[in-house]
């Protein structure tokens, strides 16, 4: 039973010989790609290959700041992320792997009138869609986070906050590994170190991919590569409205736990949480220019440290330990792109900007449903690539400003 299994090493995934054909090829071995593979396998579609040019979870899945929440601004967004959070809440049991989900509560701080109005709007949309979310004021904020500087000392004092109790953090790597393990068990082949160099399309339908380790024939190819979506889709002759912006983050040295809630400030453009290892994890906005560089920049560290100290001034002598960057595929309406393209058999899961990780479980379910049932699920219908050709955007700009 359980205790005995616990002491034996767990075979997480195997290395397979790469076949020259699969029913489905998923380009991108991050959380999304693996979630889709797992869900396909659950529906009996097991002849699936997940390809990643590096190791699994090397991209955004391993670099994000691990926040999960449902308090979005548009009804479409809320419905979508609410379902995703619900799935996250039971995912550890389903995947038989502890994902270290900690629903400690999420505070979006408002330091200006405009931000307070946005908080009101979001609270209402959330409430009417059954998401636990409400506006609270400094007295209640102080109880949730005594360390927060609620005085008039800061230049932009805190006026209110959108409080979302079910919001939380999760171990991002664990999500990747748990999906990979289950998918592997069900027969999915995971090929790391496999770089897709081209996608074959004939007569308007996809026929396979070419990689640095050989060619693979496939009737269904899914692009799940986040920041690299433009390049991969171009291989299939599919144009996208995506621009790639770097996003940075850093952690401090580990401290005994003192922060029990996730702090986000739309005015100061920072979000702060404390990991289970005690490190304070801090992120900010995307860089204001497009780039495929995942480096850290000094100005980011300076500005983000300054803004963090506005919220938590006792961190002045706490040391920054490690910084990194990742890529965000940003769409014009800050909503994702999911589903079919003009190339038959070629599907996109992309445009995830700064909010892809929190959608992982629902992405797996809906994309797998789409493939298995050959019908676009209602939940993701608003996110079709087609909407840009039809000019019917789904704007989440307010909730995505510093959407963590």
């Amino acid at each position: 039973m359980h205790p005995i299994r616990y002491f034996r090493p767990w075979r997480m995934w195997r290395r397979h010989e790469m076949k020259d054909a699969y029913d489905v090829v998923i380009v991108g071995g991050g959380a999304h790609g693996l979630a889709i593979a797992y869900e396909l396998a659950k529906r009996g579609i097991r002849d699936v290959a997940v390809l990643d040019k590096s190791y699994i979870g090397a991209g955004g899945s391993g670099r994000n700041t691990t926040i999960v929440r449902a308090n979005y601004r548009t009804p479409e967004g809320v419905a979508f992320y609410k379902e995703s959070l619900r799935l996250y809440e039971q995912l550890a049991q389903e995947l038989d792997y502890n994902l270290l989900l900690s629903q400690e509560g999420h505070l979006t701080l408002a330091h200006a009138e405009r931000a307070v109005i946005v908080a009101h709007e979001r609270a209402e949309v959330n409430r009417l869609l059954g998401v636990d979310s409400r506006v609270i004021y400094p007295d209640e904020i102080a109880k949730l986070c005594p360390e927060l500087d609620l005085s008039t000392h800061p230049d932009f004092p805190i006026m209110a906050a959108l409080y979302h109790p079910p919001g939380g953090v999760i171990r991002h790597d664990a999500v990747v590994w748990a999906y990979a393990r289950m998918a592997d068990r069900m027969g999915v082949h995971i090929h790391q170190g496999t770089d897709v160099t081209d996608i074959d399309v004939r007569d308007g339908r996809v026929t396979g991919v070419r990689t640095n380790r050989g060619d693979i024939a496939a009737g269904i190819v899914i692009s799940a590569v986040a920041g690299w979506t433009s390049e991969v889709c171009r291989m299939a002759g599919v144009e996208t409205p995506i621009v790639t912006h770097p996003l940075q983050a850093f952690v401090t040295e580990p401290l005994k736990p003192f922060l029990d809630v996730i702090l986000v400030s739309a005015t100061l453009h920072v979000y702060i949480s404390q990991t289970d290892r005690g490190e304070v994890l801090i992120g900010s906005e995307i860089e204001p220019y497009t780039s495929y560089s995942q480096e850290s920049t000094l100005d980011f560290l300076e500005v983000t440290a300054a803004h963090s100290l506005e919220l938590l001034p006792m961190l002045g002598k706490v040391k920054l330990m490690r910084a990194w960057g990742g890529l965000c595929d940003v769409t014009p309406d800050y909503s994702p792109i999911m589903g079919l393209t003009d190339v038959e058999g070629f599907l996109i899961d992309g445009g995830w900007g700064t909010y892809g990780f929190k959608a992982t479980p629902i992405v797996g379910v809906t994309m797998a449903d789409l493939i298995a049932d050959n019908q676009v699920p209602d939940l993701i219908a608003p996110f079709a690539l087609e909407r840009f050709w039809k000019r019917e955007l789904v704007s989440e700009i307010a909730a995505a400003a510093v959407s963590h």
Partner: protein, 96 residues
């Protein structure tokens, strides 16, 4: 952003002095088809490689100019004024 950009008017300056204006695009004409309009408004090349793009020297002379930058290394090999832009270099937005 800590790389340097050479403003055609002011010379090399830290990238922080500039605002990014996006890759070059071509606006749709008033008689554009739906597809051409959507392509111009929304679709982008977003290359992983050399990109021609707009920058403005926000903290300096406030002039707009073009740059050729490698989007992975952030190396900039050329900057020039819009008047020096060869007409045929204006790249198409994503093809309809």
């Amino acid at each position: 952003m800590t790389f340097l950009i050479t403003c055609p008017n002011c010379g090399p300056r830290e990238a922080l002095e500039f605002s990014f204006g996006g890759e070059t695009t071509r606006r749709a004409s008033p008689s554009a088809t739906d597809r051409e309009l959507a392509a111009a408004l929304y679709f982008r090349r977003n290359v992983n490689g050399w990109q021609t793009e707009w920058w403005v020297h926000q903290s300096g002379c406030r002039a707009w100019f073009l740059a050729e930058r490698h989007t992975t290394t952030n190396e900039i090999r050329r900057t020039y004024r819009p008047q020096d832009r060869p007409r045929d270099e204006e790249q198409e937005a994503a093809p309809a």
